[in-house]
């Protein structure tokens, strides 16, 4: 990506790269059921895009359309700047994907399953196959179990093998549909770490989930689906609103702290005398100005948190319904 910028005659900043994913009026109907309704999804290059929504909200159908598995009834998909499905032979080799859980041949080992996939890939060099497979298995920590039959793998190991398959060759975009399904907390943490790593390498990541808390920790951007419609999308701050941030101060002098915050422009701090905490909506006050002001006023602080409302609360506010309800 940086190489492109260097060889190119300084294009306008907004035009530097096409979005990794862009859809126009994407619509899919199954019989009378409108699974995906006219969505214009835009996943910027280099982002970690959290694709959120309850089960049944159309996330997987959208992802299948992005990858050319399902033909839309209306609308277009541009994947890495290439119009699908015609661009598939050139776009898809640059996309690693995990769609609706891993799927492999149960009677083959993890290693043989990856060999099979790589042998079917017209764009990979057989000479580097062994090295690439080893690297992918290493990355997900499956080397020790590579010769076990897939059928004997635990759910977590299966999921890892799926991610290894997605990383069999260098990718520009990783599409992960519910990648932490069936993983224990340790596995979930590992997947998060992996996502941060590949994102740091410059890969764009689209990660879908119905677990909001999980996405919040890694995503730079989010898109929120409900009942086939894309309700909101954009950077985490844009979607959630930075003025939605709330500050919680734990102190032995809550009244003095409240006065200091009021001087900063924070309105209506609420004091909980019992726990010695003070909570307030930050509004337009910069989050990083709170601590210095309190310290300067000589107020002893035992704890300070600035947090946005959880995505889950945000979603509830947006749709008026619980997140785990199928839409």
């Amino acid at each position: 990506m940086t190489a492109t910028a260097a060889t190119r005659a300084v294009p306008p900043a907004t035009d530097q790269t096409a979005p990794a994913i862009q859809t126009y009026g994407l619509t899919k109907r199954f019989g009378r059921h409108l699974a995906v309704n006219d969505i214009d999804l835009m996943v910027p290059t280099g982002s970690v895009f959290g694709f959120l929504g309850p089960n049944g909200s159309g996330k997987t159908t959208t992802i299948r359309m992005l990858l050319g598995l399902i033909t839309p009834n209306a609308g277009q998909v541009d994947l890495l700047g290439l119009r699908m499905p015609r661009g598939a032979p050139r776009a898809l080799p640059r996309v690693g994907s995990l769609v609706e859980g891993p799927a492999f041949h149960p009677y083959l080992s993890g290693l043989d399953n990856l060999r099979r996939l790589d042998a079917c890939d017209a764009t990979t060099a057989p000479a580097s196959r062994a090295r690439r497979i080893t690297a992918a298995l290493d990355r997900v920590g499956l080397r020790a179990a590579e010769n076990k039959r897939y059928r004997q793998y635990s759910l977590g190991m299966k999921q890892r093998l799926g991610i290894a398959a997605a990383l069999l060759q260098p990718r520009e975009l990783l599409v992960l549909d519910e990648p932490t399904n069936g993983l224990d907390p340790q596995g979930t943490r590992e997947v998060r770490t992996l996502i941060r790593e590949v994102a740091a390498d410059g890969m764009t990541v689209l990660i879908s989930s119905h677990l909001l808390a999980e996405i919040e920790q890694v995503a730079t951007h989010v898109g929120i689906m409900s009942a086939g419609t894309l309700l909101r999308q954009g950077s985490l701050d844009t979607v959630l609103g930075s003025d939605g941030l709330a500050v919680t101060v734990r102190t032995t002098h809550p009244a003095a702290a409240a006065a200091t915050l009021a001087r900063l422009g924070v309105s209506a701090p609420v004091i909980d005398a019992l726990t010695g905490t003070l909570t307030a909506q930050l509004g337009r006050v910069p989050a990083d100005s709170v601590a210095p002001a309190l310290v300067a006023a000589g107020i002893p602080i035992t704890g300070l948190t600035v947090a946005r409302p959880a995505l889950e609360d945000f979603f509830m506010g947006l749709t008026g319904e619980g997140f785990d309800v199928a839409g």
Partner: protein, 295 residues
């Protein structure tokens, strides 16, 4: 550059595009992988073993049985004890109506439906393997398996027949006798004919396999089609309609065992298979290249 959207310039990263190039030998690797997958399946190997047991069992039965009158039992059975080569033809006559269609139907029905059922289809298609190419590879895999199956009957038949009854110059159906070498060549021709005559059925199986995500259903339906065709073939009231059944000329390999082979007849029979291949091959292609992969 393919035409991208009007709002987004048709740009992709040049460095990346250089990487997305077909490597030499890609098609060969796909085909080899497909064939290996068919033969790594233990079920498919077990079925081949079962098939190989047929000539063995027939040979032993003929060896230990008391001689019986000519015309008893299936075609060619009477000649087996005189010339081991006939064990091949007897075994084919016995396995063609049921065992061979079962074997081939299982593998053909499983071809696409099996991948769909296990979910591996979506990962093959997003590699991406273009759908037409994948269907072609599946067809090749099925064809190779069917060929190996028929060859198995031929090879085991010659070996067992030779061991139990000896291989001798062959007396043809026309009464002429040809040398052992010519007899072996005729046997090979019979094997090739039987393979070719199964192709219409293979295409039907492949088509059925594109219709469902449940491999067992596809296998059962494919084998069922062969059984229904064989049953219809036994209904004389259907008259010449039976000539259009893909099973009708399966046992026509006897024509090859005459001094002067009626090639035009054989070719017209194989032409029928070609028609089935074109018809169901096209149907399979039309279905598979347009279906939504939701499995």
């Amino acid at each position: 550059m393919s035409p991208a959207s009007p709002t987004i310039a048709a740009r992709t990263l040049p460095s990346a595009n250089q990487r997305v190039e077909r490597q030499p030998g890609a098609l060969r690797r796909l085909l080899v992988s497909e064939i290996v997958m068919v033969f790594r399946r233990r079920r498919n190997l077990a079925l081949l073993g079962l098939l190989a047991a047929a000539p063995l069992a027939i040979g032993i039965a003929v060896k230990v049985a008391t001689p019986h009158g000519a015309g008893d039992g299936p075609q060619f059975l009477g000649q087996v004890s005189g010339n081991g080569l006939f064990l091949v033809f007897t075994a084919l006559t016995i396995t063609l109506p049921l065992l061979l269609p079962l074997l081939v139907g299982v593998v053909a029905g499983d071809a696409v439906a099996g991948e769909a059922g296990s979910g591996t289809l979506r990962y093959l298609l997003t590699i991406p393997v273009p759908r037409t190419r994948l269907l072609g590879a599946k067809a090749v895999g099925i064809f190779v398996y069917a060929s190996v199956a028929v060859l198995t009957v031929g090879v085991v038949g010659v070996i067992v027949g030779g061991a139990l009854f000896g291989l001798h110059p062959m007396t043809l159906l026309s009464g002429d006798t040809i040398s052992l070498g010519s007899g072996l060549l005729r046997t090979l021709e019979v094997v090739v004919y039987v393979i070719a005559t199964l192709t219409g059925y293979l295409a039907i199986g492949l088509f059925i396999s594109t219709l469902t995500e449940v491999p067992v259903a596809a296998m059962a339906a494919t084998v069922g089609v062969a059984i229904v065709a064989a049953v219809l073939d036994q209904v004389p009231q259907l008259g010449s309609l039976r000539n259009a059944l893909f099973t009708h000329h399966w046992l026509g390999f006897g024509e090859i065992l005459r001094l002067n082979i009626a090639w035009s007849t054989l070719l017209s029979w194989l032409g029928l298979q070609l028609a089935y291949v074109v018809l169901f091959g096209t149907a399979a292609w039309a279905r598979f290249t347009t279906s939504d992969i939701t499995s």
